[in-house]
């Protein structure tokens, strides 16, 4: 780890179909909110990091040009980073690196997406190579469903059991989103509705899948000295990890998933966490698909391999359970992809500083945030805590 770094402010838009604003105005909405939250102005910002999905998502190339004014980046160093779904974690890590290196005191990090304007699945299909895999991608659902089937086959998880647990995850995320004013989808759903929803990529159904959202998130990182001066309750970065794996989907073992497993291990090591299920108070896991959320529980070391459905069915990760996951309603209920991984971090920071409103997990002191990107290829984890 470098020098100590804290999150001193966060800002989120209302996520959803935001045809009421153009893309730069959406970005500015999150930036303005984060500056207000931190109680600082653009003058205090030393540098700006931003990230989005591939430019084809909205059809404007290199959006750091488009958003320069909206991010308040005039006459400041600007860095764009993108790693597909894990972009939000990647840009958060860059904000951390920049401040931890001592080269900046305060850095603004912005993630955004406006998915209602293009074709998300078609865009994601272009992440595959054009010769071999693109044809067989079927967007994100094709990839993540294939992974989920491989996982269920590997650990002999009966179809009905997997279905039941996945439906419970959908119901609890939808319930949680009712407490989150930023969430895109805010309706309660029943187990039967999830199990009988229309098939997207069998066995995954409509209510197992995230929406395509418009939204932006901004997070402000500060050095120890600045954080202590400016902020009453900073969220301290305790550990982070990021790992990538092979581009050819069939080359690595997606049921075990090295990148997710090792990214978490690295973050736990830095944070001094030995038993994450016991020590963490809350987790914001990147969960665009219910079945896949269970693979994450296992990779992040929250339960043994192949046992995630059992833990889900006994309520371990529900509100009020041993380790509440995604009290925000998660990615399942809001997914402006370039912002999503950073929203996970912002939500984790809100939790450990007691600012999460109706979705607050009482007394949370240590929180995990996570995101995954590419063709199941990248995973990033950041742990935040209430104490330095």
């Amino acid at each position: 780890m470098g020098k100590a770094v804290a999150i001193i402010g966060t800002g989120q838009t209302k996520h959803g179909r935001r045809s009421d604003v153009c893309y730069p105005d959406l970005v500015r909405e999150s930036v303005t909110t984060a500056l207000q939250d931190a109680g600082i102005t653009l003058k205090d910002i030393d540098g700006v990091v931003l990230g989005t999905m591939p430019s084809m998502m909205e059809g404007v190339s290199s959006t750091h040009f488009y958003f320069a004014e909206a991010m308040g980046a005039l006459n400041k160093p600007v860095m764009k980073v993108e790693t597909c779904g894990s972009t939000g974690q990647s840009i958060g890590h860059c904000g951390y690196y920049w401040v931890a290196s001592g080269m900046a005191d305060i850095v603004l990090v912005v993630g955004s997406e406006k998915m209602s304007e293009g074709d998300g699945q078609a865009t994601m299909t272009t992440v595959f190579d054009p010769f071999f895999q693109r044809t067989f991608a079927a967007g994100a659902p094709g990839v993540f469903t294939m992974q989920s089937m491989e996982w269920m086959y590997r650990f002999n998880i009966p179809e009905d059991k997997g279905r039941e647990a996945a439906a419970m995850i959908s119901v609890s995320n939808h319930d949680n989103a009712m407490d989150n004013p930023h969430a895109h989808i805010r309706v309660r759903v029943t187990m039967d509705e999830v199990k009988n929803a229309r098939i997207i990529t069998y066995p995954v159904r409509l209510l197992d899948v995230c929406p395509a959202s418009d939204g932006a998130c901004a997070v402000i990182f500060a050095s120890e000295e600045k954080a202590k001066k400016i902020c009453k309750k900073p969220a301290w970065i305790k550990g982070l990890g990021f790992r990538g794996e092979e581009f050819f989907y069939g080359e690595s073992d997606k049921a075990i998933w090295m990148s997710a497993t090792e990214a978490a291990k690295e973050a736990y090591k830095q944070a001094g966490i030995r038993n994450p299920l016991k020590e963490l108070d809350v987790a914001e896991i990147y969960n665009p698909f219910t079945y896949q959320e269970m693979i994450f529980y296992e990779c992040l070391g929250l339960c043994p391999r192949g046992e995630a459905p059992d833990y889900v069915l006994k309520g371990t990760f529900k509100k009020g359970g041993q380790l509440p996951c995604c009290p925000s309603g998660g990615t399942l209920c809001s997914n402006p992809i370039g912002a999503t991984g950073l929203i996970r971090l912002a939500e984790a920071a809100l939790q450990v500083t007691g600012k999460a409103g109706a979705r607050q997990v009482g007394g949370a002191k240590l929180a995990l945030s996570h995101a995954m990107g590419g063709v199941d290829q990248f995973n990033g984890v950041t742990i935040v805590g209430s104490k330095l």
């Binding site: 059809g59 074709d119 079927a138 089937m149 086959y153 990529t201």
Partner: protein, 154 residues
Amino acid sequence: MAKEYRTIRNDVALPYQWALGKTWTRFFDGLKEEQIWGTKCTHCSRTYVPARTFCPDCFTDRTEWVPVKPEGKIVSWTLVKATYHGQVKPPPYIIALIQLSGTDCGFHHFIGGVETENIKKLRQKLKKGAKVKAVWNPEKKADIYDIAYFAPVK
């Protein structure tokens, strides 16, 4: 009622001409002859298909060409019902990850020659490890579609 603001339609469609390079040119030339080529690393002995210029594990280009039988077993699959712009064909269709005999990785392709209406029956046919065999396209263009699909074998 809140005012509805305008949107403007604009399409971006660009032409590309992608280079295959020597390894993948040979791989697709092989498909045209109904031959699947893999490469085996002489250092770690792993065999990958499609063929690779270098071993991804060892980062060495000490690989040798090996013929791969057009058959294998199902690692995973899904029945696609979702639609999106530029999709290869109208759903429903099945995509799968297949481990071809003698290789150390999964290979993406379609599963065909099965009914998709009855999911219970489909699950029976496409059980974990179910054997499948390539069905060749009668018209070949030296691309991935030279294999029409993989079909379950009894």
